[in-house]
Amino acid sequence: MTRRRAFSVAVQAFGGLAGAAVVLPAVGFALAPVFDEEEVIWTPVGAPDDFTQDTYKPSVITIVEDVGETGKTTAYVRRGSPELDESPQEFVAVSNRCAHAGCPTRFVEAAGNFICPCHGGVYDFQGKVIGGPPVRPLDRFQTRVQNGQVQVGPRYSVTSQLDPVRARDPGEFTGGVWNYIYPPRPSVPPPP
């Protein structure tokens, strides 16, 4: 190796290092939220006696703090029903976020279904898809009873058999091979 070539390689190596020292931290800075687990917020939604097995009670809960209306969403809460193989001591909190494109669905009392206004997605009483384009049942929120209050916590998604998985975005299938095609994200807490 000639002296000229050695210097040329060294200068380019130093230049590359100096560039990487600026670019890599900046990229990491921008990517940080992908690996940052979101803050878990538990919201009290009412006393256990407020909820029945046969219908839902809607509650507006905050899932992102300090951003006003943007950070709010609706949870439909009921008591577990033994007829549906659920424990009556447990509470079921269904997210109103449609599993198709993320529009807000509404529980229609007369039909006993969740209906989405955007593209006609229909879900049954448990949130399983019975019509339209959604790819999986409605998401749920973890629930717990503390200080005499039912509390609604972090979101999780379910498979078509209602087995809990880590929260997915709308439009992503769950269960089987889909759990690898749409891998779980570190930004959401693990399922119950």
């Binding site: 979101e38 950070g71 975005d169 992503e172 930004s187």
Partner: protein, 266 residues
């Protein structure tokens, strides 16, 4: 009508035909008229820009060049309007989930000519998308993407995608119901890409839900990252246009064979 030669600085003038005297060696009045040209000459002596500029301004265009060839300039003009009005909108806009909507309402309703400047930006965005597609169609149907201009087509496609990214990120900024839900849906569509989709959506949203950082992130992408890339790529795009020249429309035949060339049967 010819543009008066004395108004064009000497280095930028079309060179006088051989044997003809170049204008500009008269009395004091003529000298005074020459002053702007002298200033340009001073700059030119130190930059040598005139060679590049005359090459660019007096370049040959093929026969048959028509109004369709202005669509590229129209796109550039639309981008310039977006850049200019965007700078002024940024003076009143607040990229925060609680204040964005109010700041847009304020600049539209209260600020002098605010509605007009915002309107230019809003409608200009639509115009830019329309003319960029027309420009792309012109290039396609005139066959102007063919050798040696393939690279310019590729750069143009990247510019088209960046323009669409501008449309997507700009749509969130008014932060009304329409922009909020459009962004929610756009993010969810991004998330349905296999394997990388979920992470890409998390990157765009800065987390699993649309929140405070999302709008700041979209704002930074909309006014700093993508415009910088667009300006750089427009530079490369124009360089190649000047370097390679434009194509004749496809309905013009090539030069027919000169008569002096004959096929001889022996």
């Amino acid at each position: 009508m010819r543009f008066p030669q004395t108004l064009i600085p000497a280095p930028l003038r079309r060179p006088a035909p051989p044997g003809e005297k170049a204008p500009g060696d008269g009395g004091p009045v003529e000298r005074a008229k020459q002053a702007p040209a002298d200033v340009v000459g001073w700059v030119d002596e130190r930059t040598g820009a005139s060679g590049f500029l005359t090459g660019m301004l007096y370049r040959k265009v093929p026969k048959g060049t028509n109004w369709f060839y202005t669509l590229g300039s129209a796109t550039l003009f639309a981008f310039t309007i977006q850049a200019l009005t965007g700078v002024f909108l940024a003076m009143y806009y607040t990229p925060s989930p609680t204040e964005a909507y109010d700041s847009v309402t304020h600049l539209t309703n209260d600020v002098f000519l605010g509605e007009f400047v915002r309107g230019m930006h809003k409608w200009g965005a639509t115009v830019m998308i329309i003319v960029i597609f027309l420009h792309m169609g012109r290039t396609f149907f005139f066959g102007a993407y063919k050798y040696p201009r393939e690279l310019n087509w590729v750069i143009g496609v990247v510019l088209l995608i960046l323009t669409l990214v501008m449309g997507l990120t700009g749509y969130l900024l008014p932060f009304d119901q329409r922009s909020y839900w459009a962004t929610v849906v756009a993010n969810n569509i991004t998330a349905t890409g296999p394997v990388v989709g979920p992470y890409l959506a998390d990157f765009l949203r800065a987390g699993p839900e649309v929140g405070g950082t999302t709008i700041q992130r979209f704002y930074a992408i909309h006014m700093l990252l993508v415009p910088g890339l667009i300006i750089a790529l427009i530079g490369a795009h124009l360089y190649l246009v000047v370097k390679l020249g434009t194509t004749a429309p496809p309905w013009l035949r090539g030069e027919t064979k000169p008569k002096s060339l004959r096929r001889e049967e022996v």
